[in-house]
Symmetry: C2
């Protein structure tokens, strides 16, 4: 017997799961469109020359490659020592940023100079599957390409905050930091170049292990007590001081021009969002490092307080979008973790009532002529009612049970008498209540269902 | 330089193309949901053991396979003569029917006994790319699994007809035939077993080459004049006689029980849809063969009259869904050709005005404090208005030009005076007309835009 499970790390979505995913995606898209972002879609496959070298060595290993076919495969396998490069030249999309960079290089002339796009599509990574980690998962990216203005950061932060708000998330924090500030802090604290990575890993854990934990970890990683103390003074305590106070501390500790400019950026972001969706959620977090080395300016990460879980992150990355064109193209973006959002919303029961079923099951009694029943179902549907039609003219108990099992609230029972008198029996399945209605009445009741 | 084109046979969808695709998909989904169908989604990848042998030898060659990684790949390449089976065990989805069959086998207990599902997802085929033929394209399938009732055919035919109607297709025909009738005709005409395939290919061209052409082709393929005459008598002329008359002719010519039963099915389908969406479009077409050998009952194909182009097809296939479970599971389905629909709608300009742009571009004049402008944009967006915010505080001419280039109808011009008086200038970009409005007035005008 062939296994009928989906491949490891991938999932089938039965209707209820699809409806939930669609609900979240629709909220995200509606908000992004209100913010003037437009959708982009790119193919599942990319040339390996587009993908390789963009995600680090580990990332390259996780790309799913497409095996050659036909003659090219035969030729490759005829070699004495065929190599991977002989076997494949296409791979599956690994993220949505590299395809965006490719699209900007390819269609730049046809796109607005400042291009606001969102993209919600699956990506594939050959990671070891684990709880909450899949090999096929959706990314949900929103980016503004083509401007260095901080208003781009503001737009992205507000759009994402509004999405979370509309999905029902109340208590979330957007940790805010700046790549240049981070670098200045390391320098000012006296972290040696070869210890920068270790220092970043340690301070990034502030939220989880607290200042004492970070200090211990810094020392364990070979940094001196003096360096650790200076770093801790800059990043502050676990709960964080308020934004204004933290700004002041950093201004005093980091007098160099690049740090002052970065702090000015951060202060401006706080001011500009004061009466906007992101404002109440932003928390200056000098310990925020974020893994990706491609950021060049402000960086953000959303933390859901109840669950100490990251819902996504982003930042400014001015050197990436231009990688295919050779021109520098400034950009800022945010990636929401769709699968994480869905897991949390499921756990916290945050879904509104979704349209999971038809509003009515049309049931024809045995010995009822079917053409007029079908015509009636057609008229209900044309009135916008989601009407299922039980496709077998079996005994009524069976039909009602099938409707009830699917959670369909009403059954419309049609027999020869009903057709003759154009008076139909509408049964509410949960309560068992029945009413007799003409067609207009039927439509009126069902449109409310 | 790396090429920035998408891989051969695949496409990038820039925003306008995405909006058009979404429009069509949304109409399809809305109608299918009104008919009580529910969405299913399955992973892009399937086990090769699931895929191979389901699409014929040629199909197997067109499956994109996923190359092993890491140690498994190293082991495979270390073999003296590695074979394809050593290199891959996963492939990309080739259609939506095999995944449906797998899902029914895997989750049968959790699904309703009669399962009405639709699925709109991309599939991948390593076909030679050509005009209108892609290697990544969407299929749009609707199926009813679990019942032999002809009402299932009726539901699928009506749903698809309603989709086409809502998309604006008026003059389309659904050619209707029956596998059993087709087989009976060949037998009754005296076509030898080894010539069946040739005969089917010839008569399937009736629409294109007319009765005389079919006769010539049948003779050219080695069928006798007597056989050709008998076949032509059954399939009728090019334009087709009316359904009732054609039924009568076939009833007389094909007295055997299986043919009579098939004709009874077809007559019933015509009767049951008489006052339903499919009715006016159904045309009994005994020459319709359809390529796929898996059909077992009624078969259908939509032909767009203006363009002599197939928009999709389907039929009953009672032996396929059970292939993984070993149980027989009756099913009927229809596959709409999404890419074909889009091409035709583009050619015939059938798209309604779509929401391709924001309704307004919020433009801050130089030297305007930005926080209140952002707050104003937030309030517009919360009133449901799609408001873009020009992210650079450049001179107004440049901002208006950018808005106009994107087709955004209005610009909202905000300077220090406007903020002080809470009276805003709304400029209609095409006409150049300006009006001064308070916030409520602004929202009222823009909500109409």
């Amino acid at each position: 017997m062939v296994s009928t499970k989906p491949p490891s790390g991938m999932r089938d979505y039965l209707p209820e799961a699809v409806y939930k995913r669609r609900y979240v995606i629709e909220v995200i898209e509606r908000v992004f469109q209100r913010y003037g972002f437009h959708p982009l879609e790119t193919p599942a496959m990319e040339h390996l020359s587009t993908l390789l070298g963009k995600y680090g060595e580990e990332g390259d290993q996780l790309i799913f490659r497409i095996l050659h076919r036909g003659e090219r495969l035969t030729r490759a396998l005829a070699k004495v020592h065929p190599e991977v490069a002989d076997l494949a030249e296409l791979g599956l999309r690994y993220d949505l940023t590299v395809p965006l960079a490719r699209v900007v290089a390819q269609y730049g002339h046809a796109l607005p100079r400042i291009f606001k796009r969102y993209q919600i599509q699956p990506v594939w990574r050959a990671d070891r599957p684990a709880k909450g980690r899949f090999r096929e998962f959706y990314q949900c990216d929103v980016d503004i390409v083509g401007t260095s203005s901080l208003l781009a950061e503001v737009e992205v932060l507000n759009a994402v905050s509004e999405v979370l708000g509309e999905l029902g998330f109340q208590r979330f924090t957007i940790a805010l930091n700046h790549r240049v500030l981070l670098r200045s802090m390391l320098e000012a604290a006296g972290v040696a170049a070869e210890q920068e990575e270790a220092a970043l890993v340690a301070i990034d854990k502030l939220d989880k292990i607290g200042p004492a934990g970070v200090e211990a970890e810094l020392r364990a990683r070979g940094l001196s007590a003096a360096v650790a103390t200076r770093l801790l003074a800059m990043i502050g305590g676990e709960a964080g001081t308020d934004n204004t106070e933290r700004l002041k501390v950093l201004r005093d500790l980091l007098p160099a021009a690049p740090a002052q400019a970065a702090l000015a950026d951060l202060e401006r972001l706080l001011v500009l969002t004061a009466d906007a969706p992101a404002g109440p959620h932003l928390r200056l977090t000098p310990a925020l490092a974020r893994g990706l080395s491609y950021y060049t300016g402000p960086i953000f990460e959303i933390l859901c307080e109840e669950l100490r879980s990251s819902l996504g992150g982003g930042g400014r990355y001015d050197n990436l979008i231009g990688m295919f064109s050779g021109k520098q193209v400034p950009a800022v973006g945010f990636s929401l973790g769709l699968e994480r959002l869905l897991l949390l919303m499921e756990a916290e029961q945050m879904f509104p009532p979704l349209r999971l079923t038809a509003q009515v099951m049309v049931c024809a009694l045995p010995d009822t002529p079917l053409a007029p029943v079908i015509a009636l179902a057609t008229r209900l549907r044309r009135a916008g009612i989601r009407a299922d039609l039980y496709p077998e003219q079996s005994r009524i108990g069976r039909q009602l049970a099938a409707a009830d099992a699917q959670g369909i609230p009403y059954a419309l029972i049609v027999g020869p008498d009903e057709l003759a008198h154009q008076a139909y029996t509408l049964k509410h399945l949960r309560s068992g209540e029945q009413q007799t209605l003409d067609e207009a009445g039927l439509i009126a009741v069902l449109q409310q269902a």
